[in-house]
């Protein structure tokens, strides 16, 4: 009699990843602890979030509960977050295998069930080893095992405590991925939206690009050099195209990375380089010189940039931990840059990393004169070993907001500008 899960080790790790890189502790195993509802409830109550794995003949059904397991004596009035999913023993994860159960789990008639106004969506009866799923739930999970109306017979049931909190995050991540893949710039005025990442040295600009690429590649990437010492400062202007997976086509945006801003004169990005970047005159891989801006005489200078060459959205990237140490000189520099961005009529957002409370967001809004709705929060892949759906959602959401902001600007362009090949900015 060994209290060990039936999942293989690889499946256990896969389940952990699907739920958002959580830890799992086995609390109840029916073949050891008894096929009775009471046996299950007495071990699983008051443990925090749980996932219940139900082993059918050829499928595994999982139920994640954010709140505590229901008890025999208490009736839960408040619904809390739950979802039912089909667990697959392979790497491809699709969003259609999950059914949201936004209702309260309850114990009644020797069953654990989810029901709403006389309709039972899910019912687990340990004493009979049966699982009933409403037809719409079956359909959503892609289950066609057994006859339509009959409950399933299961062989084993295990309940794990889930440490850390997924929130149906994979579904949301997948939806965002699809939206971004299908995104088209406003009226196809440009084939790709150019997003410029601007910020102080070490604020995470290159990290953000790597994180975006990692999400679409499905693995951690390291194309832009990242690190935490002086050696890894970005010194080149880069326009990164992101492919949709290995061998996939290019996505409809480019991320442009530049040298970091520095409060000291003649260190970091030269202020006179900024208008050239914004107008689209800066060539890819241009080596910055903090002392001297690029000139039209430079061999690779783009002398007549069109709408597609321009920057369409600027993202100010700031590490929230260093906000309070921003000097007045740096703030002044930011305002100077911001003024230039406004002059060019370019969309702009602020991108914050590791935000902990709302006051910090208010502070940024006031300091940089950016509306709250344009302040986005992400956590870059700088300290993780594997992809994390929670971080994915933050990164993809930020990207979506940038593209929306760019669309607003493209929509607002004067009609004359959309057809002409002259720079938009006032000279």
């Amino acid at each position: 009699m060994e209290v060990t899960t039936r999942l293989t080790w690889n499946d256990e790790k896969r389940l952990q990843k699907q739920l958002g890189n959580v830890s799992l502790s086995l609390l109840y195993k029916s073949s050891v602890h008894g096929f009775g509802l009471r046996d299950m409830v007495q071990r699983c109550s008051h443990q925090g979030s749980t996932v219940t794995m139900i082993y059918l003949k050829t499928n595994i059904i999982g139920v994640f509960m954010l709140g505590n397991y229901p008890t025999l004596s208490k009736y839960f009035e408040e619904p809390h977050y739950s979802f039912c999913f089909l667990f697959r023993s392979k790497d491809n994860i699709t969003g259609t295998d999950t059914f949201l159960l936004n209702m309260a789990p309850e114990i009644a008639d020797n069953q654990l069930m989810y029901r709403l106004s006389d309709e039972t969506f899910f019912s687990l009866c340990p004493n009979n080893k049966t699982l009933y799923l409403l037809r719409s739930v079956k359909k959503k999970l892609g289950l066609f095992e057994g006859r339509t109306m009959d409950p399933f017979i299961y062989g084993e049931c295990e309940v794990f405590r889930v440490e850390e909190f997924p929130k149906g995050i994979n579904v949301h991540r997948d939806r965002l991925l699809e939206e971004l893949r299908a995104y088209k710039p406003y009226e196809d005025l440009v084939s790709k939206v150019h997003i410029l990442l601007l910020g102080p040295v070490g604020s995470g600009k290159s990290s953000f690009f790597n994180s975006v690429k990692s999400v679409f590649h499905g693995r951690v990437t390291r194309q832009a050099i990242v690190g935490s010492d002086i050696t890894s400062i970005t010194e080149q202007y880069r326009t990164y195209s992101v492919k949709d997976g290995i061998g996939g086509k290019s996505l409809p945006f480019m991320l442009c990375d530049s040298m970091g801003l520095d409060e000291t004169e003649r260190i970091g990005l030269c202020m006179d380089d900024i208008p050239h970047i914004l107008k689209g005159c800066m060539p890819d891989r241009y080596q910055f010189n903090p002392h001297k801006p690029i000139t039209p005489q430079h061999s690779a200078f783009i002398t007549s940039p069109s709408l597609k060459d321009r920057i369409h959205c600027v993202a100010y990237v700031l590490d929230i931990n260093s906000i309070n140490s921003l000097s007045s000189k740096m703030v002044a520099k930011f305002k100077q840059v911001h003024k230039e961005v406004l002059n060019c009529g370019i969309a702009h957002v602020a991108l914050l990393t590791k935000v902990k409370n709302y006051n910090e967001v208010m502070q940024i809004s006031k300091m940089l004169d950016i509306p709250i709705r344009n302040i986005l929060m992400v956590e870059n892949y700088a300290s993780e070993f594997e992809l994390d759906p929670v971080k994915d959602v933050l990164i993809l959401s930020a990207l979506k907001q940038m593209l929306r902001a760019a669309d607003d600007i493209l929509e607002d362009l004067p009609l004359a500008e959309t057809g002409k090949l002259v720079p938009f900015c006032p000279s």
Partner: protein, 444 residues
């Protein structure tokens, strides 16, 4: 929200190692579930081996039992005390009460130990207290009480899973094709201080693909380092004899002052100017007139990924001169646009590490702390620091080590793909021109 233990990671680690590499799953916590023997038995009977931890103010006391809790049954237990990092223990037998017993008392058969849940205290006989090295202070108050199920960190199921993963990685790496087929094989340069395990890592990689422990690059403990030549090792796949899609390049180790690899040689290596078996001179870099010098290297000749190799046990004790040298080289690597990773070797010999930790290095606190130390010292991103355990004295392969080695290698190949994908267009056009000319020649 989730039920969590009061044990610190160090306490948990010490107990894990003490009881033979166990993993602890928290089942019952008195401050949440109630100070009650009834509740305890409801949740914790029929769980196999368990560990019960009693939190007193100054120390942690616990009961370890190999047998399941079952009512009205005697079980052999180990009563232990954890003070700082020391564990002392005493054996006795415990009587498990009936579920219906509401007295809230748990006691040993001889009466030396009496746990009173309702009063939240423990009484231990004087001689036992003396044996455990505790102050004579009865009764001992209980702040909290936790019960864990004990499982082997490395059980048959996990070994099987690791073996499946190892085989999957082997297949993936054997069939890997460099990005866009720009080069036939990816070149990975191993750089690091003398004795860090560069040659040992190469031998380990070769061993994994051969299916048995092998030794081609000489490894020794000579302080000046045995590797004095530049070597580019192409590895044959043990199964069907084809060459693997990567080449590991080994250099002279980095040393202090005038010893070790000459800094001037580094950029030549990176750009692909140095051919196999070039004899390094610590005092003088290679010159364009040398017979091993390649005047016009192609993309396939250059380095596509650099791995800085460090011994996990000595990486925090490198001399300032070596640290400066490594940072200088890293800057050179970045200037050449080459992607790099850091490779920590010999993590298996770190303090407190057991083999069970190696299958989940990302959840192992001592390893995480080591990675953070490397990040602080050299500036590598955490996601760029890989950990392995080289084959040094074994005769048989171990799937746990294999997975670490293959996972690190996969990261390097991905990094090289990132480098190749980012090559300037002229490089690619140049290659296409070469291919075109080649086809014309063949057509004639």
């Amino acid at each position: 929200m989730a039920l969590t233990t009061r044990l610190t990671w160090l306490q948990e680690k010490l107990l894990q190692n003490y009881f033979g590499g166990k993993k602890f799953s928290l089942l019952y916590k008195a401050s949440v579930h109630g100070f009650s023997t009834v509740e305890l038995l409801e949740r914790c009977h029929n769980e196999g081996p368990t560990m019960t931890v009693i939190y007193s103010g100054d120390y942690v006391m616990g009961v370890y039992t190999q047998e399941s809790y079952q009512e009205r049954k005697e079980v052999s237990i180990i009563l232990f005390v954890l003070q700082d990092t020391n564990i002392s223990k005493c054996k006795m037998r415990l009587l498990i009460p009936w579920k219906s017993d509401h007295s809230g008392i748990l006691q040993s058969c001889e009466g030396e130990l009496l746990i009173n849940f309702e009063r939240k205290n423990v009484k231990v006989a004087s001689k036992i207290i003396e044996n455990l090295g505790l102050p004579q202070n009865n009764p001992i108050s209980i702040q909290d009480y936790e019960v864990f199920r004990c499982e082997d960190l490395l059980d048959e199921r996990k070994i099987e899973g690791v073996t499946v993963l190892r085989d999957s990685l082997l297949c993936t790496l054997r069939t890997h094709k460099p990005y866009g087929d720009l080069v036939p094989q990816v070149r990975i340069l191993l750089l690091g201080p003398t004795g860090a395990g560069k040659s040992s890592f190469f031998n380990s990689v070769k061993s994994v693909f051969r299916g048995h422990v092998t030794c081609q690059a000489l490894v020794g403990s000579d302080t000046s380092g045995i590797s004095k030549k530049y070597r580019t090792y192409s590895i044959k796949d043990g199964r069907d004899g084809n060459f693997l899609p990567f080449i590991l390049c080994d250099t002279l180790g980095l040393g202090e002052e005038e010893e070790g690899l000459c800094i001037g040689d580094v950029s030549c290596i990176l750009k692909g100017h140095i051919s196999d078996r070039y004899q390094f001179d610590s005092m003088k870099p290679i010159t364009s007139g040398h017979q091993n010098y390649i005047g016009s290297p192609l993309v396939k000749d250059r380095i596509h990924c650099v791995a800085f190799v460090f011994d996990a046990n000595s990486v925090e004790h490198l001399s300032p001169e070596i640290v400066v040298k490594i940072k200088s080289i890293r800057r050179e690597v970045i200037k050449c646009g080459i992607v790099h990773v850091a490779l920590l070797t010999h993590v298996d010999s770190m303090d407190l590490i057991t083999k069970g930790d190696l299958i989940e290095t990302d959840r192992c606190v001592p390893i995480k702390l080591k990675l953070k130390a490397v990040q602080r010292e050299f500036g590598f991103a955490l996601s760029d620091i890989l950990v392995v355990s080289n084959y040094t004295s074994e005769w048989e392969l171990d799937p746990v080590k294999d997975v670490l080695i293959l996972s690190a290698l996969r990261q390097m190949l991905w990094a090289a793909d990132d480098f190749l994908e980012d090559l300037p267009p002229t490089e690619e056009e140049e290659r296409m021109a070469c291919v075109f000319i080649l086809k014309i020649t063949q057509g004639a």
